[in-house]
Amino acid sequence: MPVLERDDAHIWRRRTTGQSLVRWFGWLLGVAVFVYCWQLISESTTWFFVWDAPRIANDIWTRATPPKWDYITQLGRPIWDTLNIATLGTIIALILAVPVAFLAARNTTPSALFIRPIALLVIVSTRSINSLIWALLLIAIIGPGVFAGVIAIAIRSIGFCAKLLYEAIEEIDHSQVEAITATGASRWQVMAYGIVPQILPAFAGIAVFRWDINIRESTVLGLVGAGGIGLQLSASLNVLAWPQVSLILIVILVAVMISEWVSAKVRGAII
């Protein structure tokens, strides 16, 4: 923040002339890169298909409407499977995430040198692989079906839940822990009285948030054969049964809306 002195007056500008020039040059560079990238993308696009897109989209739309409403009788079971995959997967993930989070949090880890890096590795590795890929791997290992879906969702969610939870643990008010320690409480009692009450709201929030995400993730697991409504979706797509596809998409939309409504209600009740 430059302040110039001129005729007994202090003149204040937000930036010096040099800083303004640097910023102006930065913007110029950004625009140039954008134009160059646009050109690259344009060259490798088959524009014939793009010009064609509205017609094709319209074609699919007319084939897909109206949805084949009586197909709904066959969707009850798959959507129920999908909900179960999400719910069971979330519960298993939470059970596994709690100890990982306590091992990863700086203020509760037994050893910052050895155990914490392992816990962090678990968090990163489970988070970095998409649940579809986990499902593909698990189908190869334990065979296709709902169980593979549950495990895929569970593994995928451990890292997410543990990461948010250990951040919550690191942010607790230390004086409450000190006060419980000062009474002569054991390590586990300090955890139960000093730490757990403080992270309980965060835990509940994480649980419903992840459940909400998992409902959406589990709808596509069927595409690779891991059970749920995705199985119907991929079958319908393969035979180009567009009215069925549109009905499935509507069912998924309704399921996701309901799950969002539930998680919003639960989070509102906790906070």
Partner: protein
């Protein structure tokens, strides 16, 4: 009863918070620890129950050196020392009753405490203490619903239900208004008197300390520079503890005209 022998604490940063402190606190004596911020008051209190590990020296509670205890024995020793905190340090999301009962954690097993199955004698004592500090009707409220003064009284109950010999009190009135501060100080000193407890009270407010305690210890840069009766705190002495300032107004005799409201 409590004896500090050459108690020293050097932080990792190299700051010497305590420089070979020697102090003796007889049974039942309440003393105030005064001194500027950063003089080592909090560190000293925390070194006694080893929330902060002292670097060297000894802390003798009834001739047991606390600095040499293993974790199990340390937990047993901590039960003898109740602690009261500046920002109350109640577990906010637990009820008043749970907070008071948490003072018994050193005496009950994990599952009993986890399931809140405390012995009836503990529960009776908790109700008695809450009644004594005038919070019986609040027993079922959550701790974060209480006002500052009320929270501090819950903190006092939590310390006393440990059935301690010694109270370690860290700035009990720093977040309270002047009237509530007096009430809390009066309550602490009265309760110490009733139960014959010794107490070390960290306090910023010199006038408040002079009003309630028979002995004042002044700490500066981790060293004791004053130890004596509150009446001996002359402007010279205060200058030695805190540095240059006009002290006349501080040590003016404070009339305690609000004698009536002990704990409403």
């Amino acid at each position: 009863m409590l004896r500090l022998q050459k108690l020293t604490k050097t932080y990792k940063t190299g700051d010497q918070a305590l420089k070979a402190i020697d102090l003796e606190v007889p049974k039942g004596q309440v003393l105030a620890l005064i001194g500027p911020s950063g003089a080592g008051k909090s560190t000293m209190i925390r070194c006694i129950n080893r929330l902060v590990e002292p670097t060297s020296g000894g802390v003798l509670l009834d001739d047991v050196d606390l600095t040499r205890l293993g974790s199990g024995a340390l937990r047993k020793a901590r039960r003898e020392m109740g602690m009261i905190f500046q920002e109350y340090a109640l577990v906010e999301r637990l009820t008043v009753m749970e907070n008071v009962l948490s003072g018994r954690l050193g005496y009950v097993g994990f599952w009993r405490s986890f399931l809140r199955r405390y012995p009836q004698s503990d529960i009776d004592e908790a109700f008695r203490l809450l009644d004594r500090v005038g919070l019986l009707h609040m027993a079922d409220k959550r701790a974060d619903e209480l006002s500052g003064g009320q929270r501090q009284r819950v903190g006092i109950c939590r310390a006393l239900i440990q059935n301690p010999k010694l109270l370690l009190v860290d700035e009990p009135t720093a977040s309270l208004d002047p009237k509530t501060s007096r009430q809390i100080m009066r309550l602490i000193t009265e309760l110490c008197h009733e139960r014959g407890l010794a107490a070390i009270i960290n306090i910023h407010d010199v006038a408040l300390a002079q009003m309630f305690v028979p002995r004042v210890v002044g700490l500066r840069f981790g060293e004791i520079v004053y130890d004596g009766r509150p009446t001996g705190l002359t402007p010279d002495k205060l200058t030695e503890i805190y540095g240059e300032e006009d002290w006349e107004a501080t040590i003016e005799k404070v009339d305690d005209d609000e004698e009536v409201e002990a704990a409403e």
